[in-house]
Amino acid sequence: MSVKEVANAVPPLQKKGLLQKFGTQRLVAIIALAALYVFFCLAGDNFATYNTFVSILDSSYYIGFLAIGVTFVIITGGIDLSCGTIMVCCALISGTLYTKLEVPMWLCLILCIVMGGLFGFCNGFMVAVMGLPAFIATLGTMMVTRGLGSIVTATASVTYPQRSADDGWFRGIFKIMGEGLPSGGVPTGFLLLIVLAVIMAFVLNKTKPGRYILALGSNKEATRLSGVSVVKWEILAYVISGLFAGLAAISYASIYSTILPGTGNGFELDAIAGTVIGGTSLSGGIGSVAGTLIGVFIMSVLKTGLPFVGLQPHYQLFFTGFVLVIAVFADVLNRRRQKN
């Protein structure tokens, strides 16, 4: 009897249905997103307008960037609690550089992203080299960055130049406004978000860094024993999260203008929730950038849509909680069914 025959004794894997192929969780997420949008269109007055659509997109940029970055960290089996406060800290520091030290705007923006990457590197170093649990390492960074923002600005708020000002050009990265254009503006930030998501999905699925991040999230020891430098790639995941927090800072500044020190807490949980709703597993090894974006848009639609049906935005939290639990439970059920 050959190995082939023995192997044939095991029933072949069932043909993957569309459901399994796509992931129940992501499918649930897409359906939830569509259902929510349709619901608000029907129930809310004036929800189904171009301007509302743009404001949904506007509120998705910074959480979207944070979530794309944090997806990589979660795939390693880690967590990044600091991405929200890193974002605000970067926005505060580069804004201070611009207003107090008159550093050119283009340099401020580059520094903003670089600083994010540095904070990310610190997280990665603490986790991969020093061996701290990711929860603790990034909790520490969360507190440090939140404090640092207040120290640098002496607790004063920082205001970025208006669109009309000479250095307000950077707002055009995320939205172009002007005569002859719709009053809500053209949401170029959406394009940027999608382009970056496509690039990062490609990095995750088609390049070595992505493959090794998935591998070490699945089984770190096995990856190490395969001759892969797990330290390097684990750090990289945190650096990616940091760089995207820096980018999120720019989008945050361009949409909200005034940045308050001491804020930023809670954004990381929105980012993590979006990631998890999108099908990334908190135990590592599984995740997708596309899923993450869907998760983020669900939260944006909720946030923007609830006032249209007479509920305050804080109901967003309430409903996001439900979506989160339902989406993850659907996945748990599906895995249980596959096992049997």
């Binding site: 023995v6 493959r211 090794y212 999230g217 096995a222 090894g285 599984i286 049997n340």
Partner: protein, 497 residues
């Protein structure tokens, strides 16, 4: 065979002041299969981990192809041509088979991984090795035996000059082993040096050229396999001869009461209409190929998987088992084939592990009575001769044999009546194996009953009073030990519908 390709000399290594290796010598010829043997804790794995750069040595020299070498990490060793097939499965379960096989050396097209080439290469590799596995399957969906074949394929595909096999057959069935040996002979004929670690004496006699024996971190000696008997090797390892003959007849009286009766059991797609009885004081051996549904039966009886239909009676009374908790309360214990995942809490100490299933007996008021816990633990450490420095040693640091004894002790504290042993001696060395067998015999003498699932025919024939054979989820034979032969069992194990 020609000149040595690898020489390790006077290798020493300590962990936290404890000598794991003391001046160990090992050499390997080109085109040789060289067995490395020794009891658990003898230092075989440590020696091989030093060779492959996973541990740094404290002293000694390694020369490979005539050059003194010093590998700092697994990658250095791999690039030089030394690879190891680990005993513990090291798989990225979420990745595909091909992604696992080519991890760390993916075929690239510029900066992009060429997945289609990778899948083709993997398919070609499997074809060459006569393994039928789809390279695109997710690793976690394969059985343990097939994962092991992937791990072997991975090592072979690196164009290695030296391959270390650390108990490669522990998870394989007899026919898979035959195929593995073909692969190994093929590699040997190509001039590759092979280090073969195994506890199975038959395999050693069958395939190796030389045997090096280690004991307690020291080098005992190297002998030509052809010039030595099994007993010679075992004597070098432990200094005593271990009884290895099959059981000739059952001591269980024909009218012994039936303690467990299973009728028309169905569960998932791996258990189909299975019925059997288990008598008091009996060892029922369950044999079959990988994927025959043996473990699944055990899991269904133990309430770990859902029952679709069927009846289970204990001492004649019908019983509903909906969860492992129900099973434990009904007096059933299950010792999993995968100790690390389901058997022991590796991060916890010996005492915690032993009392976890019977913690209620150790509670005074609202807290755990540490004194009672320690006392019971020490009692079992002595009784089962568990080699541990103390009751508070972390289980991770103990050998496989000792971990298995801890699992047995855990269930002994529950005073179970029915024990299901799933591959009880997998990855356990000869000495500890004999002790586990001794324990099982003691249990049945005390009137307890055992269901023993095993892939090793020798083990089935040695321990069972009756043998139940399975194929594709169905029971295909039930053979009293007096009539059981390897041929009969293998025949029933391949009886397909």
């Amino acid at each position: 065979m020609s000149h040595p390709i690898l020489v390790m000399d006077a290798i020493s290594k300590s962990f936290a002041g404890v000598h794991a290796l003391k001046g160990v010598h090992f050499d390997l010829m080109q085109g040789e299969i060289h067995a490395l043997m020794g009891e658990n804790g003898a230092g075989k794995s440590t020696l091989m981990k030093i060779l492959t750069g996973i541990y740094a040595r404290d002293g000694g020299t390694i020369s490979f192809e005539g050059q003194t070498v010093d590998y700092k990490n697994p990658r250095d060793a791999q690039e030089a041509g030394i690879v190891i097939v680990h005993q513990e499965l090291n798989m990225m379960n979420h990745l595909t088979v091909a992604q696992n096989v080519f991890i760390g050396r993916e075929p690239m097209r510029g900066k992009v991984i060429d997945d289609s080439k990778m899948n083709r290469d993997a398919a070609a590799l499997f074809e060459k090795l006569n393994i039928d596995i789809n390279p695109k399957s997710v690793m976690g969906s394969l059985t343990v035996g097939r994962q092991q074949m992937c791990e072997i394929a991975k090592a072979i595909s690196t164009d290695a000059k030296v391959i270390v096999f650390d108990e490669p057959t522990a998870a394989l069935t007899d026919s898979e082993i035959t195929d593995l040996f073909k692969i190994i002979f093929d590699l040997r004929d190509k001039g590759i040096g092979i280090v073969y670690i195994s506890h199975r004496m038959d395999e050693i006699k069958r395939i190796t050229n030389r045997v090096t024996v280690m004991r307690d971190g020291e080098y005992v000696g190297t002998i030509q396999t052809a010039d030595s008997t099994k007993d010679d090797i075992i004597n070098m390892m432990v200094g005593r001869v271990v009884y290895e003959d099959p059981k000739s007849h059952s001591e269980v009286p024909a009218d012994a009461p039936v303690v467990l009766s299973v009728r028309n059991l169905n569960s998932g797609r791996m258990v189909k209409d299975v019925s059997f009885d288990l008598r008091k004081g009996e060892i029922l051996g369950v044999s079959g190929l990988m994927g025959a549904g043996r473990t699944e039966i055990a899991r269904a009886i133990f309430g770990a998987d859902k029952l679709d239909s069927g009846e289970i009676r204990i001492n004649g009374k019908p019983i509903q088992i909906r969860s492992p908790q129900d099973a434990v309360e009904a007096g059933i214990s299950y010792l999993s084939e995968d100790r690390k995942r389901f058997g022991v809490l590796v991060e916890k100490d010996v005492a915690t592990n032993m009392t976890i299933a019977s913690l209620n007996d150790f509670i005074t008021g609202i807290s755990v009575n540490k004194a009672a816990e320690s006392e019971t633990t020490l009692q079992y450490i002595q009784k089962l001769r568990i080699k541990t420095p103390s009751a508070h040693q972390q289980v991770r640091k103990l050998s496989g044999g000792n971990q298995q004894k801890i699992v047995i002790a855990k269930w002994l504290t529950r005073d179970s009546q029915i024990f299901i042993f799933d591959e009880p001696t997998r990855g356990i060395d000869v000495g500890a194996k004999a002790e586990i067998y001794g324990l099982m015999n003691e249990l049945v003498q005390q009137g307890k009953s055992i269901i023993m699932i095993s892939s090793e025919l020798a083990e089935i024939l040695r321990m069972s009073d009756r043998v139940m054979v399975m194929c594709e989820g169905r029971k295909t034979a039930e053979i009293p030990i007096e009539e059981a032969t390897q041929e009969k069992i293998m025949h029933a194990a391949t009886l397909r519908e």
